[in-house]
Structure formats: C-alpha cells, structure tokens
Symmetry: C2
Subunit: 340 residues, 2 copies
C-alpha cells in the first residue's frame, strides 16, 4: 500500500456503495482475548440425516414431503417473515409511522448431500445454484407486488443458521430494504454524474492497484473491498456492468460458480474449519425500471477474527457508533490469498 | 393498540431518529428453534477475583496497579481502538477515501464488587456512575480534537464482553460516528422545521398513548420505542429537553440512576438470568456548538429473544436488507412490565 499510515494508525474508510464509514484500528489485533469462545464443530456430517427437514425425501415441520431432488430444491419458507396475503395499511399517527410490507420467502437447498457446503462443491455444481437463483429472480420479479429480491445465505450456527444442510434463502418484498436503498442512492448519484458504473470504475482502480484482489477469471473479480467491515469480508463482482443476475449468460454463471468455489474453499482453510458467514447478492430493484446505475455484486460477511472459535463482536461501539475492525483489508487479503 | 394490523401482519416501522426502517413479523415468534443455544452462566461470582484486571488493587496487563477504589474507577483503555497521538492524514485516491481518526478510549468500572452488575446496584450507587460519566464528558469535551463522546456498556459474554466485572467504556473521537450522524441530521431537520425537540414531541405522544411506557419518574421515561429493533430494546429519555448529560442536575442524576436500576432489574427477571445487552448514550457532539436540536437518550439493545440461551441473530437478511424483529414492541413492553 502506497499509504503506510493506513497500516499503522487508526483511521476511517469510506464505503462508496453505502455512503457510510468504517473505523479501522490496525494496531488492535494485538490485544489479548479473554472473552467468549464459540463452539467449534468440525465433525464430518453424514450425507443423509433422517431428522433433517431439508434432506431429500424427508418430511418438513408442516407435513410436506421433500422430493427426491438431485441438485437444487426450492420451496416457500414454512415460517416466512413476510406474508403475501396480508392487508395493505398505513399508520401515520404523529411521529408513529408504519406501513404494511408483503412478500414471499423461499428456501433453496444447494445440494441433496447433507454433508456438503458450497466450499465442497464444484464450479459446475454451484452453476446449478446460480441457475436456480436466476429462475427464482425471474419468477418473483414478475409479481407486481415484489420490488426487491434479496438472495442470501446464513452459514454456520454462529450465524444463526438452524440447519447445517447446505441451503440459502430468498426474501422478496414490496419495498427496498435499508441497505439496498443506500446503495441505490449512491450508485444513482454516481451514474448520473459520470455516466458510468460506480462499482465498475472501482473495479478498474482495484485491478490496476492489485492490492486487494483475491482472484479473478474472465468474468469475475473476487476482492476485499477497501471499506470492508468484517475481518475477512470479500466481494464478488462481475467485470461487465450488469444490473442483475439475469444478465449473466451460462458461461458467466459457471465463472461465477468458480469464483464462489475459490473463495469459500480458501475461507475454510484460514482457520481450518467450515468458515461461517452470511453472504448476499445486492442487485437492481424489480420495480420495472431499467436501473442502469446498478452493478450487482455478492458480499460475504464472515465473523471469525482470530481463530475458529474467536469471532469479532459487533456490539457496543459498533451498534451506537460505527463498525470497527481490528485488521486492515490489506492484511486480510494476504491471509486469504495464502489459502488459495 | 388502536391499529390491530400491527399485531397481526408483517409491516415496517420508521425510526424517526435514524430515518431508517425496521421489518416487524409479529407472526414469526411461532417458528420452532433448532439453532444455536448460547452458554448460560448463572453462577454467582465472588465479590473479589484475584485474576480480574478490573478488581481494586489488582495489576492490569500493562503492569499498572488499580487503586483501592470504593465506588467508580476510570482509566484509559490499555488496548484502545483509537489513538490520540497518531498523525493526521487524508487518502483521496479516486474511489478510495480514508481519513485519520484520533481519539481517547476509557474504561469505567461501575463498582469494586466483582459480583455485581448495574441491576444489583441502587439508584444512588448508579448516580455515582452518572457523575463519573459527566466528569469524563466534561474533560474530554475540552479537548479540541474530540468532537464526540460515546459512552456505552457491553454486558455479558454473548455481547463480546471479555470481563464480567461491572464496567462500561467511553470512546471519544474527532468525527461523528455513523449512527450519531444520522440522528444529528434527523433531529436538526425536525428542530429547524418545528422549533421543538423531535424526541420531546415523541415523548409527549407516547405519554398520552401509554402503550409503550415501562416506567417513569419526575425526570425520566423508560419506554420501548415504536421502532425498536432488538427483541427487548428500550430507551431512557429525560423529560426535559437536554442536549447532553451535563445539563442534568444532581437530583436528575439520581432519577436517571433509578430509571437504569428499574429497567436492568426488570431485564434480569424476564428469563431469570443476568440479561446481556449493549447500552449507549447518544448525545450532542462536543464540537463547540450549542446543538440545541439534540435531546440526549440512552438505549439498551439486548439480544435474547426466547430464553436465556436463545438470542435473536441479526444475520443474512438483517445485514443485507433491514433489521427484522419477531415480536412487536407492544408485546415486549407487556413482558418487561410483568417483571417490574
Ligand atoms: O474492548 P472490549 O470490551 O474488549 O471489546 C468489545 O467491545 C468493543 C467495542 O464495542 C468491540 O469492538 C469488540 O469487538 C468487543 O469484543
Ligand atoms: O430463517 P432462519 O434461517 O431460521 O433464521 C435466520 O435467518 C433469518 C434471516 O437472516 C434471521 O432473521 C434469523 O434471526 C436467523 O436465525
């Protein structure tokens, strides 16, 4: 890094996509840890678990039976946070403001093999997951009440995942979630001012500098963003300026699968454990507009900081002030690249 | 609640202080939980622990010896996230933007008694903590490089607290943290438009409705804000429009102590455990301006949702979309009031 101050002294970095800051304390990783250790379960799971409600052929809590699926299986969430059939209402009572929010929540099993995670799957196996995301996105975006589709995965017990079977979720809804709204504004402002993609221009700069790049293939770049919050946060960005995942062709879907495979495999090696994270795809709203200012991307927010059992806690200062990190993005990149 | 839809259907509520939304899914608490359980440690701690680096007379990691303090003891954090003596710099390199951030971090022991928490302390014992906050705030705000003082507490191992000795922290710094910046904007806009305090007017409305009030005395109201994110989130607000904690007189400091005592004691009864939380005081910047638009307040963000061992995970959707809660603010108020 040309500016060595960034590796030595506390500073804040600006997230161009959200317009918010992160506090970086490069010297702080040295402090001893006497706090909570997470339970680590490195036991190999069986390929089939008869008590798992996501395994093929098993019965779910609501009595439905899963098909004998061979690759990917999608169903509507049995305990959805958003309902599709609720009434529309508005509360506008002085300083109390509320609005009904409807939507559809789905669960997507990545593989019938209970023992696997994305890190154990090949690029072409993950390509099938990408195809399923595209199919769901297409279908959900046809619904006039759905204006945004959030694809995400919670991996690992420490990330609130209640079932180790490889799966992700899709929550789709009528309005823009907070985080998406911020990125929408930042990208729109930039696009209006520069007539080019904010993330595309950022990518160009990073590819020149080569200081935060983890991996690239013809279609995608995997990098640690300059403004990363989580210790080993990373981002997968398509090289082409695409507003949403439907603009990917089949070849790019395979390249995307490779990018996910490479990153998740490297993660698992950092602390020699199945690396927990939440990942998510941010992309253009499905509101019927072209949304040319959007450049879709996938982010990984993994909580582990020092070992398989010591995570970063985003608590007091982080909740009331600003997210704070203890190692720099550049240090994290080096550690991830050592695991490629 | 006049609007019963809010208790039955998914909706979003607006946080007037941050300008952001929270997704509420009243029906979702019914879903079964098969995920991670937190370790619960209800063991009574001794009043003195010779290995604790916060107990009176003990030696800290850097070799300093704590005094034989009798009530409150404050020292500069041995592993501060912000440094006071670092150089000033600015990175403005295309889309990479960073700025040096300096500050002072302190630790404040609430009591020499290792076995206690605020919930075990009387209003007048907590009043001494309030006096210490006022003293630190006064001193730090005199520093021309300190423009904001964040007072907070992380309580419980699940909140990343590495030492059970009753203590909080103060991180003070040169710029406004993200969350403070949002509240600054919202309060300023309202004050400019209405010539009155946003939070003061909200308080008036809540005191009339009486639907979300937990407790009040002459000086303070304890309530669950309409837009609460965390399952049992609560807020302590001074009835008088005060920009920062220095505007409290001694009598109000005692009333404030009582409000903290009442709330934390009720929390401990909800799941019959020492209730973990992060708490923090948001108040006017110390930038030399009057900041009349600010109405200081203290918030509590406790993670437990279903029991002493099952917390709410703010993960995938919450990280990429919008914070989501499974019980309504009104349900939470009832449960907290049952514990008064
Ligand atoms: O300084 P502590 O208590 O060791 O650390 C704790 O609080 C800090 C401020 O909220 C967080 O940054 C840390 O992640 C957390 O473990
Ligand atoms: O739906 P799940 O996987 O049971 O639930 C998990 O993910 C959700 C979406 O991020 C969160 O709201 C829950 O707190 C978490 O436990």
């Amino acid at each position: 890094m040309s500016n060595t101050n960034l590796q030595d002294y506390s500073h804040k970095r600006f997230n161009i996509l959200t317009g918010e800051w992160v506090l970086v304390s490069p010297h702080r990783a040295k402090r001893p840890w006497q706090g909570q250790n997470e339970a680590v379960n490195n036991e190999k799971r069986p390929s089939y678990d008869k008590s798992c409600y996501l395994c093929a052929g098993n019965t779910r809590i609501n009595g439905e039976i899963n098909p004998e699926y061979k690759d990917v299986f999608v169903f509507t969430n049995d305990f959805a946070a958003l309902q599709n059939d609720s009434p529309t209402f508005n509360v506008n009572d002085g300083l109390l403001k509320a609005q009904s929010e409807t939507g559809i929540c789905k669960v997507i099993c990545f593989s019938p093999d209970h023992s696997k995670s994305l890190a154990d799957m090949s690029a072409s196996e993950i390509q099938k997951v990408v195809f399923a995301w595209q199919k769901e996105f297409t279908e959900l975006s046809k619904n006039p009440n759905i204006n945004y589709v959030q694809i995400f995965e919670n991996k690992g017990a420490v990330m609130g995942c209640s079932n180790p079977h490889p799966h992700g979720q899709i929550w789709s809804q009528s309005s823009l979630p907070n985080e998406v709204d911020k990125k929408n504004t930042q990208q729109l402002n930039y696009y209006n001012n520069n007539n080019s993609s904010l993330l595309g221009d950022y990518l160009t700069q990073e590819l020149e500098k080569k200081e935060r790049i983890i991996f690239e293939n013809n279609g995608f770049v995997v990098l640690v963003p300059f403004w990363a919050i989580w210790p080993f946060e990373a981002m997968i960005v398509p090289k082409k300026h695409q507003a949403n995942i439907l603009e990917m062709n089949d070849e790019q879907a395979l390249q995307y699968g490779e990018a996910i495979a490479v990153l998740t495999k490297a993660y698992d090696k950092i602390f020699n454990t199945s690396f927990p994270y939440s990942s998510g795809i941010h992309q253009a709203p499905t509101d019927g507009n072209a949304n040319k200012h959007w450049h879709w991307h996938m982010s990984f927010y993994p909580p582990l900081l020092r070992s398989a059992s010591v995570k970063k806690f985003m608590v007091g200062y982080e909740m009331f002030g600003t997210p704070q990190r203890d190692i720099t993005a550049e240090q994290a990149v080096k550690m991830i690249k050592d695991c490629l």
